[in-house]
């Protein structure tokens, strides 16, 4: 038994609770599956002819191959926001107090919630790729490529979850966290999640090029449609990791601040 083992067991137990309470509350997970899948279907049906006709569109086998990565990122974004508002509900409802008044590791309070988010994101990525493959999509880079997709999804889940938890700790209000959701959604549309950046121009293109989400989606997409290299994979993983470090770090500071001020 190492000194760290209680914190690890606590993380696992809290993550399990996070997963159970998500699964048992359909409004917590249905949107994160429904919206991305609906958008993916609509786009595939509407823009199925786009590849090869629209200048700048990369060569792909089908639009579905192109769309699946955006759907995964969108699902993770919705799921991560839900994790943030669940954390805020814990603060509002008193579960957070129960944790703080117990010898639970302060780190586990965060890692438990993020662990749940990451696990759910990985399952979601599996599901989306699985569903898309039923309709003919293929991950060109094979198992290794699939692994890259899963890792990026998990890290992005930690990043979004970290941001959600940060907002929860600063506002203490589930409503406030949910209120940020439209902003996250806008961030998604100002990225290359649904259409290639090459087809965009002007200021819109500038924003898309600055948006980190674009790089995550493109790194995942390269694994699906082909053209992925170690470089593209590392860029995607690196950016996701960087985002996660920033938001999880911020949530750690916010937790310390809340515990210190405790008002």
């Amino acid at each position: 038994m190492t000194a760290a083992s209680p914190a690890i067991r606590q993380t696992a137990a809290l993550a399990w609770r996070g997963i159970l309470t998500t699964i048992r509350l359909p409004q917590a997970w249905v949107p994160s599956l429904f919206f991305p899948l609906v958008l993916m279907s609509i786009f595939t049906a509407s823009f199925g002819g786009a590849p090869g006709r629209i200048p700048g569109f990369p060569p792909v086998r089908s639009f579905l191959d192109f769309a699946v990565s955006g759907a995964i990122i969108q699902g993770v974004l919705i799921g991560g926001t839900a994790a943030g508002s669940a954390f805020a509900s814990d603060i509002e409802g008193g579960f957070f107090d129960r944790l703080v008044a117990s010898p639970t590791s302060r780190v586990a309070i965060l890692t438990g919630r993020l662990g749940a988010s990451m696990t759910l994101a990985v399952s979601q990525a599996l599901l989306f790729v699985g569903l898309a493959s039923i309709f003919g999509a293929r991950v060109a880079a094979g198992l290794g490529g699939f692994l890259v997709i899963v890792v990026i999804a998990a890290l992005f889940a930690a990043a979004v979850g970290g941001l959600g938890v940060y907002l929860a700790l600063r506002t203490g209000s589930a409503e406030a966290v949910q209120g940020m959701f439209p902003l996250f959604f806008a961030l998604l549309f100002f990225s290359s999640a649904f259409f290639p950046a090459e087809t965009m121009t002007g200021w819109y293109r500038t924003i898309v090029d600055l948006n980190p989400i674009s790089y995550l989606v493109e790194a995942m997409r390269a694994e699906v449609i082909g053209g992925a290299t170690v470089g593209t994979a590392c860029t995607g993983i690196g950016i996701a990791l960087g985002l996660a470090v920033i938001t999880v770090g911020a949530s750690g500071l916010a937790l310390r601040r809340r515990l210190r001020v405790a008002a």
């Binding site: 137990a13 809290l14 159970l20 409802g93 008193g94 579960f95 117990s102 010898p103 210190r260």
Partner: protein, 327 residues
């Protein structure tokens, strides 16, 4: 002999805007008893509990719980205390058993230990049959009992119950009282109980402190506090040919009359305590005064509160089901 379960000195908590929710509280709660912390809404009860359970930092002063300083050694405090806060913080989507097992892991119990302990506690609070149902389906009383079980997973030495029966029906309230009493007598757990109900403090606590406006206004055993306030009131109803005046003439020999306190008879405060009642009855008999009913009533904790603050405790917040938030 042993360290007090709770000891505070000049404890102060000031909120933004300079409001002092707790304003210089010095308390000593001995190990092994049930301590009742009584006060109206907003008196500072919850703020006090939050400081003692390491959830809130005191603005100034000292507090030790189970022998550990809440500021410098909060982890040791957390290992020693059980906490059931107002508005039981319980996931509606988890089952009672799942929550108990989770709590056991959070307190560092081994898996097998946690399972055994969960089963034992479910039995003790009478939730075996509901153990695998989601908490969302529980009644208010069941939730409080689960909350109590959750706070006991690690066998704490000091148990904090913040308004454990607020909003419960009388039956559930009595069940919970029994469980807390049993815990105290059989397991020797010190109980620090906050309440806004006089009856609860009177029934449960062997020591009571009354807080109002962030300050302790009275502190002692319920019996001593009530004795301080006044003597028991003896009320006698006249019967047959005897008049209330006849009764009053005899009773006046035993203490201070309370005019108008008893219709159809007379009432007197007995400085000699309840023991003087027998003498009074004998004197009535010897004087040939006929009487029907005799009623001896002890002063209540409300009388204590009234004398110390000039207000009644109950009725100060008659808002049934109103927000039970303490500043």
């Amino acid at each position: 002999m042993s360290e007090p379960a709770v000891e505070t000195r000049d404890l102060v908590r000031e909120y933004r805007g300079g409001i002092r929710a707790v304003d210089g509280v010095s308390l000593t709660v001995d190990t092994g008893g049930i301590f009742g912390f009584l006060g109206p809404n907003g008196a500072g009860k919850s703020t006090m509990v939050r400081m003692l359970t390491t959830l809130l930092r005191p603005t100034s002063g000292d507090a030790r719980v189970a022998g550990f300083d809440v500021m410098t050694n909060p982890d040791a405090v957390r290992r020693s205390i059980g906490v059931a806060l107002q508005d039981a913080a319980i996931d509606p989507y988890m089952t009672g058993r799942e929550l108990l097992r989770l709590q056991a892991v959070l307190h560092g119990l081994k898996r097998a230990q946690g399972r055994a302990r969960s089963d034992e506690l479910l039995g003790r609070v009478g939730l075996e049959t509901a153990a695998d149902r989601r908490v969302g389906t529980y009644s208010g009383g069941m939730r409080r009992r689960l909350d109590l079980a959750l706070s006991l997973v690690h066998e704490p030495t000091v148990l904090f119950l913040d308004e454990p029966t607020t909003g419960l029906d009388p039956m559930s309230r009595v069940t919970l009282w029994d469980e807390v009493r049993r815990l105290n007598t059989e397991h020797g757990t010190t109980v620090f109980l906050t309440t806004q109900y006089l009856e609860e403090a009177d029934q449960m606590a062997d020591r009571v402190a009354i807080i109002d406006g962030g300050r302790i206004v009275a502190d002692g055993t319920p019996r001593a506090l009530k004795a301080e306030v006044g003597h028991p009131l003896l009320a006698v109803t006249a019967a047959d040919a005897s008049t209330p005046d006849d009764v009053a003439r005899v009773l006046a020999r035993f203490g201070e009359m309370v005019p108008g306190a008893h219709v159809g008879g007379a009432a007197v405060r007995l400085p000699g305590g309840s023991a003087a009642m027998a003498d009074a009855v004998r004197a009535l008999d010897e004087a040939g005064v006929r009487f029907a009913e005799i009623d001896l009533s002890e002063p209540s904790l409300d009388d204590v509160f009234l004398i110390r603050t000039g207000r009644h405790l109950e009725g100060a917040d008659t808002a049934e089901g109103g927000p039970a938030t303490d500043a």
